[in-house]
Amino acid sequence: MRVLRLWAAVTLLALPIMAQAQAQPQTQPRVSVADTEPGYRQIQIDVAVSPDPRVAAYEIWFAENSFSSTRDALLHSRIAVMDVDGLERGAPGENYDYCQVDGLPAYLDADGNAVIDRNAARWSCALTGMVPGRDTWIAVVPVSADGLALVDVDGLQPVSGRTDASDERTPPPDTRPVLYALGSIILSTIVLLVFLRQRDARKGRTRSRLAHVYVAPAVIGLITLTFYPILYGIGLAFTDADQSHLGDEAWVGLKNFVTVFASPGMWRVTGFTLVWAIANTAAHVFFGLLLALALNRAGLTGKTVYRTVFLLPWAIPGYISVLAWNGMLQPEGLVNGVLGTSIDFLAGADSARLVVILVNIWLGIPFMMMTLSGALQALSADMFEAAEVDGVSRWDQFRYLTLPNLKSTMVPVSLLGFIWSFNSFNTIYLMTRGNPYVGFGEPGATDILITYVFSVAFEYGQYGVAAAWSVLIFLMLVVFSWLYLKKTRATEASA
């Protein structure tokens, strides 16, 4: 009986204690900041907890000042606590966060968030989003499934941590080789000019004492701004430079040239470029000369007005004119409106080619007209009066007097016109962007070499291959110019 009473007394005494134990909050997890820094904007915390079936998640709170209540802190993350059966462990770098449990990567839920095993007594996490160079105060709060804190949220004892890891920043591009090259070129040019001047002085060419100094800025400018970029471009054509790793390109020999010659559509685009350049130059010269002759007729009134009107296409920025033409040639554009049709002039390969050529001809005539008009005005009127008196027909005057006398102007401007047309980027790029397509991996129907090179360089990012194309364009133009000048000089000599 005494034993029973003693048992009852103990039980009665124990009941409130048991009840108190049932409601007793969990002890605060012990948080420590790891000595090692996991990386930029991260602080590593190690957490020791007492496994408790009531804990459904751990909330991590942080602030820039010490705090005792979550009201004065920000919620950093909420890490779920659950059974990890069937879950996979994460791997460093793959997911958003990196947590470890007992030294192993934490399991991940379906969304890739870290999950703590119910039985885990220690876990650690690299906390992201920390501001470097400042102390950060951190506390961990266990919460139940219904989101209630299992510790006193007004009596928190946060720990402080700090990250001083610096960010990984791309180093500025190494411009030293370019600057050294330019500096060396300039100094070498100066030395050369000094040498040439002294040589001239030794040979008694005293009239040209300052000539070398006067030409020095032009020579240096030409070398640094023209020759150096050309040489750099040629050098680039022998490397594997591309958009994905510019700056650490390697020498690949003639590989880029092989790629160019093996490109589908290479000969087609070269052929169309020649057609484009010849058609444009011929039309520019023909119509330019026609208009110049018309404007040069004696007795024509309103010459200035006509010249101004004809000059307008040249006076307006080229890209605006081209965009205006583009709009006018659309199915809903002005041209179709006038014709009462809805033809898509730029849809078919042939029609698009014809249209871009016509637009470029329209753009280029004023320059040729003004140049030839100036040359025509410089011709002697006496010569034509004499021919008139001798009864020479207008056609023969044009053929045997005007044309031969215009040759000194026409040859360089037509050469210039050819080179400009060959490298005329704006018209095609703004009208069609090289379209329509005619095959996979090929230049478009209206692409010329220069527009295709632009695509290769800046749309496909193949700088080395684009440089190889540019070298070929350069060589084509050098050869053409040499042949053209040689031919026209020969004609001049035999005349």
Partner: protein, 423 residues
């Protein structure tokens, strides 16, 4: 009096000084320097969409809240946005913050300078709670591989927009969300009269082909990111798509992207598949327009699912103010800013708290696009994502001109994609 030799020396001094300075600059070029410049933000928005005004207001508010962080917003033309960023990054002159789409991230993701990517991995910059604010699909679209390269700010997709006046004039019932393509074509045929088209579809722009492709069960990529342009159903989809002109005559192949908007603006077409970004352009012209979810493909029973496009604010790897740049990016993607964007521009927010926002839900246009975005497909943010459209465009052209069958063109497009990716 200065003699000739002295003049020579004086004149020569200039170039010598220039040469020496260049060499000296070369030696100094690698020395570190400190920068106190404002945060430079490059942005590009659709014209007339009011996005720019709201963005600039958000920047002003940020500067007021953070007076020690000046911001310099710079508008970049849409088509040059990416290429300028790549070029400036390679020249060491990248802006701190830039707005990019998921397909642009796919193109930028594999590019590196000095072995480092062009963009900062934002995973370490955001706390999990900051990150959890965003829609999971939008967040995934901003990842290239493992890194998170941008904070998602908006999402959008194509949907069916129609002109009520033209429907009323033709006595045709307005489109409904449960429409099938048979009903769509029937309506389009009834609406095609004189110079008015039933539909304006830019037939040679593959972005508009994607909804049809998905309705036939085709896909541009498999889950691993490899191209699958010739997947089953693709050729049937392409034929159905081109038949809109070839067979049904309800649209014309000459319709470019600009022509589509122009035709609809001029009330020369009754329906377009267009994004919310153009809604204001149409509405501001006084058009009485309505919106419906894209129809269900009668042949397959699957709904036309357009591509979901995502935009986000990214931080350059070269930025020397990354913490402040991320702070700005978070500001620009905050729920308040996103809500203002959504209500004014109809671009859908990516902040999850706005999914049930009463004001957004009450807006008929936003509600319509929210319904549509439930029926979209997402392309993985991979390198090929930015290249696939060109190959599909070529395939459409080759099929349209009759030079290839749809199946052959798509197979060739797939081979070309593989070749480009392996290059």
């Amino acid at each position: 009096m200065i003699n000739t030799f002295d003049r020579f020396r004086v004149l020569l001094a200039g170039p010598i000084l220039l040469g020496s300075l260049l060499c000296h600059s070369a030696a100094l070029a690698q020395s570190p320097s400190s920068r106190v410049d404002p945060i430079e933000v490059w942005y590009t928005f659709a014209v007339d969409s009011q996005e720019e005004a709201i963005f600039l207001r958000a920047v002003d508010a940020f500067e007021k809240a953070h007076p020690d962080i000046p911001v310099k917003p710079t508008r970049i033309p849409y088509l040059q946005n990416l290429s300028q960023f790549i070029n400036s990054s390679q020249a060491g002159e990248a802006p701190d913050v830039i707005r990019l789409s998921d397909s642009e991230l796919g193109r930028v993701g594999h590019i590196s300078v000095e072995g480092l990517p062009l963009l900062e991995d934002l995973r370490v910059h955001l706390t999990p709670m900051q990150r959890s604010r965003f829609d999971a699909r939008a967040l995934a679209a901003m990842r290239y591989g493992n890194p998170l390269y941008a904070i998602p700010v908006s999402q959008g997709c194509l949907s069916l927009i129609y002109n009520r006046k033209l429907f009323d004039q033709a006595g045709v019932a307005y489109p409904r969300d449960d429409w099938t393509t048979e009903e769509l074509l029937r309506a389009a045929r009834s609406l095609t009269r004189g110079d008015i088209l039933g539909m304006s579809v830019p037939l040679k722009w593959s972005y508009w082909f994607v909804p049809v492709l998905s309705a036939f069960g085709g896909a541009m990529f498999d889950p691993s990111g490899r191209p699958t342009l010739d997947s089953p159903g693709s050729s049937e989809a392409m034929d159905w798509y081109l038949d809109l002109e070839r067979v049904h005559g309800v649209t014309v192949s000459s319709t470019s992207l600009e022509a589509m908007s122009t035709q609809f603006l001029l009330e020369k077409s009754a329906m377009v598949f267009d994004g919310a970004w153009n809604w204001n352009t149409y509405a501001n012209q006084g058009l009485d327009i309505g919106q419906a979810v894209m129809p269900v493909m009668a042949e397959t029973g699957q709904r036309l699912a357009p591509l979901a496009s995502y935009f986000g604010w990214a931080v350059s790897k070269q930025s020397d103010a990354k913490v402040d740049s991320v702070r700005l990016a978070l500001w620009l993607t905050s729920a308040d800013v996103q809500k203002e964007f959504a209500l004014s521009t109809y671009m859908l927010p990516t902040d999850r708290s706005l999914a049930r926002d009463p004001e957004i839900a009450a807006d008929p246009v936003l509600a319509g696009y929210i319904r549509q975005i439930q029926h979209t497909v997402q392309v993985p943010t991979v390198r090929g994502a930015s290249m696939v459209y060109e190959q599909l465009d070529v395939a459409l052209e080759m099929t349209y001109t009759g030079e290839m069958t749809a199946a052959d063109a798509l197979a060739a497009a797939d081979v070309e994609m593989e070749r480009v990716l392996d290059r």
